[in-house]
Symmetry: C2
Subunit: 352 residues, 2 copies
């Protein structure tokens, strides 16, 4: 026997049944909304259940339904270029946030969650009988997507899979990067920016496309000539310094730079200041990926960085909730969810 000690006095479905004066079956139905039950009894049952603090025993539910109650959170290493100092930064905090929140939401949904960051682990989880998966920043070429798809297991992605038939990526949660990009651009404009340049993350994830489209549309509508560089991701720091130098040396120099990745913004900040230019007066800098634990730079001699709150916690929760629905055999309320994001203005764009 384990340390379980047979959870003393835990209230079960029978206790609720007795208290409500009905059968266990009725309680089950009332709580799951499956059978046909009169409103009155249902409410009575629910009330009693809450009053007694009834929590269904997940093991029993899983045993009878045949589910394992386990889901995988797969955050592939795709977007984690290895071997460089700064390259680790954009991903860890974001994935940590997602993982923590997803884990909590999973618990609340009666599921538990296994993390995996490698293809082999993910396959292992499949073998172990997970009920479904959340895949963060999915890649088309990643075999994990296909494996789950072929196994017929429900998958919810965070970010869309670009370039595949819709039925292979039916369910996703995403941030409206297009919209938040435009919000940032408008903010910069309002603060007096005349020419806004963009330093983009390497192509691949859908958010890069989305943001760049937003930028192009905004340029079109405002008549500004688009100026953007897409990083290759081999060496963020070096590339960023190079690109920044190029931007600053242009005859018609941009007076605001918007970067997708937070560490890139920091490097831009460094480079701009090193060049003897003032932030935000001569150049404003903003980032899309933001981490409030990280962007507050005071004490480092650099201005706090304007960023976007992409609400990773909410993204994670929505994804897990959607997956839970799918596992329960329900059609989720929405198959596509956009989580709103908004700018967090700080010192680096506070031009007066």
């Amino acid at each position: 026997m384990g340390s379980g000690l047979k959870r003393q006095g835990r209230v079960g479905i029978r206790d609720v049944a007795k208290a409500a004066g009905v059968s266990p079956t009725t309680v089950s139905h009332a709580l799951s909304g499956k059978g046909r039950i009169s409103k009155r009894t249902r409410n009575r049952v629910i009330e009693k259940a809450e009053k007694l603090g009834y929590k269904p025993n997940r093991s029993a539910q899983q045993l009878v339904t045949g589910n394992s109650g386990l889901i995988a959170l797969y955050a592939g290493n795709s977007s984690t270029p290895t071997g460089r100092l700064t390259s680790a930064l954009p991903d860890y905090p974001f994935i940590m946030n997602i993982a923590m929140s997803a884990s909590v939401e999973a618990i609340e949904q009666g599921l538990s969650m296994a993390l995996s960051s490698q293809t082999s682990e993910a396959s292992g989880l499949l073998q172990m009988g997970v009920d479904g998966a959340v895949i963060v920043d999915p890649e088309v070429k990643d075999p994990v997507n296909e494996e789950f798809f072929e196994a017929g297991l429900p998958v919810v992605t965070v970010g869309r899979v670009l370039g595949v038939p819709e039925e292979m990526n039916e369910h996703w949660v995403d941030v409206d990067h297009n919209k938040v990009t435009i919000e940032v651009l408008e903010h910069l404009k309002k603060r007096g920016a005349k020419r806004v340049a963009v330093i983009s993350a390497p192509v691949g994830p859908s958010y890069v496309n989305d943001s760049l489209e937003g930028y192009k549309a905004w340029c079109e509508s405002t008549g500004q000539e688009p100026i953007f560089h897409t990083l290759e991701g081999r060496d963020y720091e070096q590339e960023t310094r190079r690109v920044t130098k190029v931007l600053l040396d242009e005859k018609d120099r941009p007076d605001a730079i918007f970067c997708h990745l937070q560490p890139v913004s920091v490097e831009v900040l460094r480079a701009v200041i090193a060049e003897g230019l003032s932030v935000p007066d001569e150049i404003m800098v903003a980032t899309m990926s933001d981490d409030n634990k990280v962007n507050n730079l005071d004490g480092s001699g650099m201005p706090d960085l304007t960023g976007c709150n992409l609400h990773p916690e909410q993204v994670a929760r929505e994804a897990v909730r959607m997956l839970a629905s799918l596992i329960a055999g329900e059609e989720p309320a929405n198959r596509h969810v956009y989580v709103p994001a908004e700018i967090t203005a700080r010192e680096s764009t506070n031009r007066k």
Copy 2:
């Protein structure tokens, strides 16, 4: 019904029993090592089980044993000073590594794992019926420790709880920071260091004590005067620059600097180079916390940083394994486990 589709043709204990010509009970006993069974039949059963690819149904096991099969990984925010750029760095990769590995090991142990980083979440998990917890870098004052202790639930810590009676921290996994510190110091000495200074992480976690003790012992045995600064953790970058300046301005300047935290080392590297001194020829720099994804600085114009492989994956696995034993009601093989660590020499200490 869920998508579980009643796991078709899944081999159960009865199938194994039939194949081995014994009863289900015997199979159960043979596989768990509980009852008294002859060696011969046990082996036969095990063989058949493997051949048929038998995997026990966790839900059924949990239902009957009364365990939830869920453990908590609690990595408190203690060691994560907030609000500063670099302060996020030391923790995220380490905790990510721990979390991922722990998660995988949990699965292998038939458990699943919920992440939590906040007291409230951890309490929530307790209410939800977790079977035990792994607590990373525990703090004495953290209520989470006590809550679990009082609930009588098994806890394994990663790092020791300092200053509490032994029975409140019976089970832990730790890295031998004392030993690895001395290994680094010896390495530096061998490379020609005459005076080694240490910049220590803020006090609290046991590893800080352990490493500093190692340093003091080493100083005593080599006759070097100890030179160390302990960061307060308010602003790593600024503090580090200040401390480094002080060290470099001493008349009898140290020619090697060992830091606990990787981002601190990077800042030291910057400061030393900015001061016009060469690494490793004039000053060697090394770090204790290391991340191979992060310490490889080439391309940034700075030498790769010598660090220590603290084997976070192994630490996590040991901790989960120990916890699994405790949950199963067994006395674990060891109540204290030291995971070996070793230096990873790189360019920043490669003085010829």
